[in-house]
Symmetry: none
Subunit: 224 residues, 2 copies
DNA sequence: CTGCTTTTTCAGAGATGTTTCAGCCGCTGG
DNA sequence: CCAGCGGCTGAAACATCTCTGAAAAAGCAG
C-alpha cells in the first residue's frame, strides 16, 4: 500500500512518514506541489496526502491537475486553513477528505482507513463474474475449482479486477506492478496476461482479458 | 441519484431534504436508526446521510450494521459531537466522512459531491445524438449495440465529436491525428472517415459524417 | 548445494491496424 | 458536354503490435 505525502514542512512530513511506515504503509515524500503533481500523476499510489499551502503549486491546484489527468487516487487534504470556504474549495478541487491542523494521529489513521476502505482495498476478496480473487492468499477461484497465483500474477490480476470494466493502459499496469524504477518492459505484462488467461481458463472462469491494441487490457465477463 | 437521510430531528431532516431535492437528488427520510439500517441495507441508495444520536439505534451502530451486511454505499455522518474521539469512532464504524454541526450548506454539498464522485459514477464518454464514445476503451456504442475502434479511428472520431456540429478542415484533422511530421496525406483521413461511416452504420447510429467539398467534415445527427 | 518455483528474456508466428494506390464517381466550371 | 478536380472505396502491401513457448536467470527453501 503506497502513500505519497506532499508537504513542505519537513518536520511534519517526517513525523507523518514515521507514523505511516509504522503502520506498514510504503511512504514517499516530496516537498512541493510541482513535484507532488508529477509523482501523483503516475497513478502508482493508493493515497495522496497533501498540504494546501505549499511552494510552487498549492494543494488545490495539485488536486485539480491530478484529477484533470484522470487519476482517481483518493486525496486527503491536510491544512491549517479551517474556514468553511477553504474546505469547500478543497473538496471541489478534487479532494476526498479535508482534515484541519492540528489533528490527532488516531484521527488521521481513521481517515486513511476510511479512504482506503472505500478504495476497495480493505476487502479481502474481489469478485467479478463467477470468479473471486482472495487477496490474502493469492488464490483465484470459481465455484468449481481454484488455483494459486504467484505474487506477480496476483498483482496484475488485482489491478485488472479493480478496474471493473474500464480498461487499463499497459504502461500504467507496468508501473503499478513493477514500479517505475524497474527495467521490465511491456512484454512482461504481456507474458503475465498470458499466464493469467491460461489459469482463468483452467478454473472455468467466465472472465476474459481482452486486449486493446495500443492501449492495454480490459477485463470482461463473457456471457455463456 | 438517491439519497437516504436518517435523522430524528424533523426540522433538520426536512431542511436537508428540501436542499437536496432542489439540487436534483431523489431523497427519502427516516426518523430512527432501526428503520435507517433496514432501508439502507437494501443497497438502493447512492449515499446515506445519518445523525449519530438517534432513538433506538445510534449512527455508529447503523453504520457498522450496514457495513456488516456488505453494503458499500458511502456514509456521511452528521453530528453535534465534535470531539476527536467521536470522529474516530464514526470513521472506524464505517463512515466515509464526518461533518460537525452546525455546518454550512455549501460545505455539505461539496462533501456530497466528493463522495459521489468517488463512487465511480462518472464515466469518461463523449455523447452526441444516440451515440457514445468511450474515451477509456476505444468503444463506440448506441443503445442497441457497440463496436470497437482502432486507435486511429478513435482519434478521428473523438475530434469529430468534440467539434459538436461545427465543421473541421481536413488538413486540421490530419495534423491533429497524424501530427506535423507525418507523411500521411489527406487520403488517409478520407480512408478513416470511410471506416467510421461503416462502423457508425453498423451500430445503428444516427450520426452522419457529412463531407463539405474543399473544406472538410461535419458531424450531424440525422432525424429519423 | 540442489531442486523447485517464479520471473525475465527472446525470437518467431500470428493477428491486426495502417498506408498506399488505382479506379470510380460525381460535381463544377468553362 | 466534357475535362478536371476532389472525394470515396476496395484490395493489396506493409508495418506494428501482441502472443507464445521455450529457455535462461533469479529466488528460495530444505
Amino acid at each position: 500500500m503506497k502513500i505519497l505525502i506532499i508537504e513542505d514542512d519537513k518536520l511534519l512530513a517526517e513525523s507523518l512518514q514515521t507514523l505511516l511506515e509504522l503502520k506498514g504503509f510504503e511512504v514517499e515524500v516530496v516537498y512541493d506541489g510541482e513535484d507532488g503533481a508529477e509523482y501523483a500523476e503516475t497513478g502508482v499510489y493508493d493515497l495522496l496526502i497533501m498540504d494546501v499551502m505549499m511552494p510552487k503549486l498549492g494543494g488545490y491546484q495539485v488536486a485539480r491537475q491530478v484529477r484533470t489527468h484522470r487519476v482517481t487516487t483518493p486525496i486527503l487534504m491536510l491544512t491549517a486553513k479551517g474556514e468553511v470556504q477553504d474546505r469547500i474549495e478543497g473538496l471541489n478541487a478534487g479532494a476526498d477528505y479535508y482534515l484541519t491542523k492540528p489533528f490527532d494521529n488516531m484521527e488521521l489513521l481513521a481517515c486513511i482507513n476510511a479512504l482506503l476502505r472505500r478504495q476497495g482495498d480493505q476487502v479481502d476478496v474481489l469478485r467479478y463474474g463467477n470468479t473471486a480473487l482472495d487477496l490474502t492468499g493469492y488464490v483465484l477461484s470459481t465455484e468449481e475449482s481454484s488455483i494459486r497465483l504467484s505474487k506477480k500474477e496476483f498483482d496484475v490480476m488485482r489491478r485488472l479486477m479493480q478496474y471493473q470494466g474500464r480498461s487499463i493502459r499497459k504502461d500504467v499496469l507496468l508501473v503499478q506492478v513493477w514500479g517505475y524504477e524497474s527495467n521490465a518492459t511491456e512484454n512482461n505484462v504481456e507474458a503475465y496476461v498470458g499466464f493469467l488467461r491460461k489459469k482463468l481458463k483452467s478454473i472455468g472462469s467466465d472472465l476474459r482479458i481482452e486486449s486493446i491494441r495500443l492501449l492495454g487490457y480490459h477485463l470482461e465477463v463473457v456471457k455463456p
